[in-house]
Symmetry: C2
Subunit: 235 residues, 2 copies
């Protein structure tokens, strides 16, 4: 068979079309929660794509909890109901790549919460991790070096101390995108300033004092520059 190399975008389109076909199939066959999907081989033949493509599409739907696979048995529709499944598939198909504004907006939302939770729930261990992350950041800034990474690790340490694994995961997901865009748009320049040190120390102190309100307040100040960028830029 002719093998062709696809770009990432083409690959995504193929996957999206498979998901759409799966949705149609489920609708057409009136498959209900718990029902078994046709085998991967059959689907690959029916849709005219490779089994790998089918598997990847199924894995994506498994990630969103819509399907689940049992080894040596089959792939099944999760117990979330036909209506919800159909609607969710539609949403997944309509998902766009997040733009920078969405990322920043989400980061601010998450961090104003994680810092509050961290102040409430931090253990002494968390405090040590935060302290060392803060020190690493300070050293870099005082040496006038680029400190974006250390800045970021401090914020991730806060997410970890929040004891909320969902938010922690989401922070990890958006973080690299944020870094890339920061470097692209040179948003981070202000973070190299000495002002950042004081803000970070204020946040750390509030978490140490277990003062959630002040922690959130200090984080808000820390984000004020970002806020402006997010809501007054044309990007």
């Amino acid at each position: 068979m002719k093998v062709e190399v696809l770009t990432n975008n083409e690959k995504r389109d193929v996957q999206q079309s498979i998901i759409a076909k799966l949705r149609d199939l489920i609708e057409y066959k009136n498959l209900e929660p718990g029902d078994k999907l046709p085998s991967e081989r059959m689907l690959s033949e029916k849709f005219g794509v490779s089994r790998s493509n089918i598997r990847e599409a199924i894995q994506k739907l498994e990630f969103y909890g819509i399907l689940y696979s049992k080894p040596q048995s089959g792939t099944f529709i999760a117990e979330i109901g036909r209506v919800a499944m159909s609607g969710m598939m539609e949403d997944i198909l309509g998902l766009e790549e997040p733009d920078f504004k969405s990322l920043v907006e989400t980061r601010i939302l998450l961090e104003l919460k994680t810092v509050r939770l961290a102040a409430l729930r931090r253990t002494d261990e968390d405090l040590e991790a935060l302290q060392s992350a803060l020190n690493a950041y300070k050293n870099k800034v005082l040496n006038k070096e680029d400190a974006v990474e250390e800045d970021l690790l401090f914020h991730l340490a806060i997410a970890k101390a929040s004891k909320n694994s969902s938010m922690n995961t989401f922070m990890l997901i958006i973080t690299p995108e944020i870094i890339t865009n920061f470097e692209k748009y040179h948003v981070c320049d202000s973070n190299q300033s000495f002002k950042g040190i004081q803000e970070h120390e204020d946040i750390f102190q509030a978490i140490k004092d277990q003062n959630p309100k002040r922690a959130k307040e200090m984080m808000k100040i820390h984000f004020s520059v970002l806020y402006q960028y997010c809501y007054h830029s044309n990007n």
Copy 2:
């Protein structure tokens, strides 16, 4: 070669150990951003695991933006710096499966924001989608049928109207988990009540009126039961 069938947990452990080994390798070899990783074949031999396992681990690190693969060329370390990379890998290794409390906490946080953004940014199209989701929900409740799915789709429609693709994605990620747990712990019983209809209509009206403050307020009321469950239960 002997083929063995692994459980999901065993598979996860293998992947985690590969990620840890990759971290050690990068540390040991002092690989920097932009550097090329050894080839998949070499790594699979070095670590004593199959190439598939290596590929999956690499794909996970690609998902978090730590690595990137160029076809017919190699896998490279992303431009996020050694320190950030090492720290993020550590965080990824330490990630736990989200507990129900984390999920609910995150959902509330997200939805109080998306409903506000939806009120600010909704188009007439969004309004139509919201209206039809609301109608589907009302019909189900009035027929005394289970309406968890329709409830959920209404909330997803709000996320979509918020025009923030990150939050929309995150809502889609946590939604199935939430449903599953709702059914397990029977949290949703209250949603079948007629009270839910009024609350949903209030939220819808606030979005229609483009009144973000009221929209958030109404959502808060809608979540008050959930709030209690989240912060006063022992689970």
